[in-house]
């Protein structure tokens, strides 16, 4: 009888864990991006830009696309980007000689401009609310609002830059980077 009681308690505990875990789950929201494939075109050392006002140097190019998330009901949603990290913590690899930086900005939740903040792991905000945030590996970005959201529209800016200006470019080379944008609901 004593043993049976322990088993019941363990099962209830397991049930609780599972019920809690579904609070952060894959979303049933629709995620769309205006430009799923971004082509920065062909460059050589001579066409790389000098440092711009944001301090970005050796830039191959900058492209912008729109992200639209539409949920069937108001939800608290977080956007993640899953891809191989680059040489720096805030970038992703683009081939073997370049890096890719992604920035989320100009978020509009149900038609209203909203600030953004980071979410990580169990949902703890790790950054202040701002209009623009770098999309970091496995760190979520969410609108900093108390209200659940049905439609969230954001701008994603991608910047490609060469890691090292002194890289020897001997021949024509194609640089690729693939990742997955993911929406998680609470």
């Amino acid at each position: 009888m004593k043993i049976m009681m322990r088993n019941v308690k363990f099962s209830l505990l397991l049930l609780s864990v599972i019920l809690i875990s579904i609070n952060a789950r894959a979303s049933d929201c629709d995620l769309n991006i205006s430009q799923p494939h971004t082509n920065f075109g062909t460059f050589s050392r001579g066409t790389l830009s000098k440092a711009d006002s944001g301090g970005q140097s050796n830039m191959i190019g900058r492209k912008t696309s729109m992200l639209t998330i539409v949920c069937p009901r108001p939800e608290r949603i977080t956007l993640y980007y899953r891809a191989a990290a680059g040489s720096a913590a805030d970038s992703y690899s683009l081939g073997d000689i370049a890096k890719l930086s992604l920035t989320i900005s100009d978020a509009q939740a149900d038609g209203k401009s909203v600030p953004l903040m980071y979410k990580q792991g169990g949902g703890v905000a790790v950054s202040d609310n701002v209009k623009e945030l770098a999309l970091l590996p496995d760190i979520g970005i969410t609108p900093n609002t108390n209200e659940p959201v049905t439609t969230l529209v954001m701008q994603m800016t991608s910047i490609a830059a060469v890691n090292d200006i002194n890289t020897h470019i001997k021949e024509h080379k194609v640089l690729n980077s693939i990742g997955t944008l993911e929406v998680v609901s609470e």
Binding site: M4, N7, V8, S11, L12, L14, L15, I18, L19, I22, R25, A26, S27, D28, C29, D30, L31, N32, I33, P36, H37, T38, N39, F40, G41, T42, F43, S44, R45, G46, T47, I60, G61, I69, L94, G95, I97, A98, L100, S158, A160, N166, H168, I169, K170, E171, H172, K173, V174, L175, N176, S177, I178, G179, T180, L181, E182, V183, V184
Partner: protein, 223 residues
């Protein structure tokens, strides 16, 4: 008693998962890179060694003619900073004289018969014998106005053990070197001196005038 809660748990979990829909989008990014275009501003012209009389040639050994310089040397302008080398292809088909040295005095360089990768041909006589051998020595190299050394690139890598600044016929490239690595720049200049040695008189046909010519095609390679 203990099995019932576990069964319920499994059913609840399964039901919860089944309503989740995928909300992921794969995105991709592409860029293409090319080396910057390079343009030859000054290329070696034809060197004319004139008429050589038979009495100028040794009977049983090769005879080297006086070294001649290509006027103006070679100048290559690239549209952005890069590293380049010159790879030579012997247009004679390998008809090189297998005896006698090729020598330059400044800088002092000697190419022996055994160094076949540094010997270019001058064609064959009607009797099927090589007429001579030639090569070019590079010197006074500069990159963007700064002095450089000539190094040998083997499969794209600088061979620090090979510092002889001659042209090669085996795919190795003569390159501009600074600080023990390929120099990076936009304007590459180098001077080139040609040395020719002719076959022993006894191997050349008598009584007739022999015309001979040697040439090599230089290719710019990115390093």
């Amino acid at each position: 008693m203990s099995k019932l809660p576990l069964v319920i748990t499994a059913i609840l979990a399964g039901a919860s998962c089944s309503v989740f829909a995928s909300s992921q989008v794969q995105v991709s990014f592409t860029a293409e890179v090319d080396p910057p275009p390079c343009h030859i501003l000054q290329s070696p012209s034809t060197l004319d060694f004139g008429n050589i009389k038979r009495n100028q040639l040794a009977a049983k050994t090769s005879t080297q003619l006086p070294v001649k310089s290509f006027v103006g040397g070679i100048t290559i302008q690239c549209e952005a900073k890069t590293s380049i080398g010159l790879r030579a292809v012997d247009n004679s088909g390998g008809s090189t004289l297998a005896i006698g040295n090729l020598s330059w005095s400044s800088p002092s360089v000697n190419v022996t018969p055994a160094q076949t990768d540094q010997r270019f041909g001058l064609g064959m006589t009607s009797g099927g014998k090589a007429i001579g051998v030639w090569n070019v020595l590079f010197h006074s190299a500069q990159v963007d106005g700064v002095p450089a050394q000539i190094g040998i690139a083997n499969n794209g890598l600088l061979d620090l053990n090979d510092t002889v600044p001659t042209m090669r016929n085996n795919g190795k490239a003569s390159s501009w070197v600074q600080n023990s690595s390929f120099a990076l720049g936009e304007l590459f200049t180098v001077q080139a001196d040609a040395a020719i040695a002719l076959a022993p008189l006894e191997d050349l046909p008598s009584g007739t005038k022999i015309s001979f010519a040697g040439s090599a095609t230089l290719e710019i390679v990115y390093l």
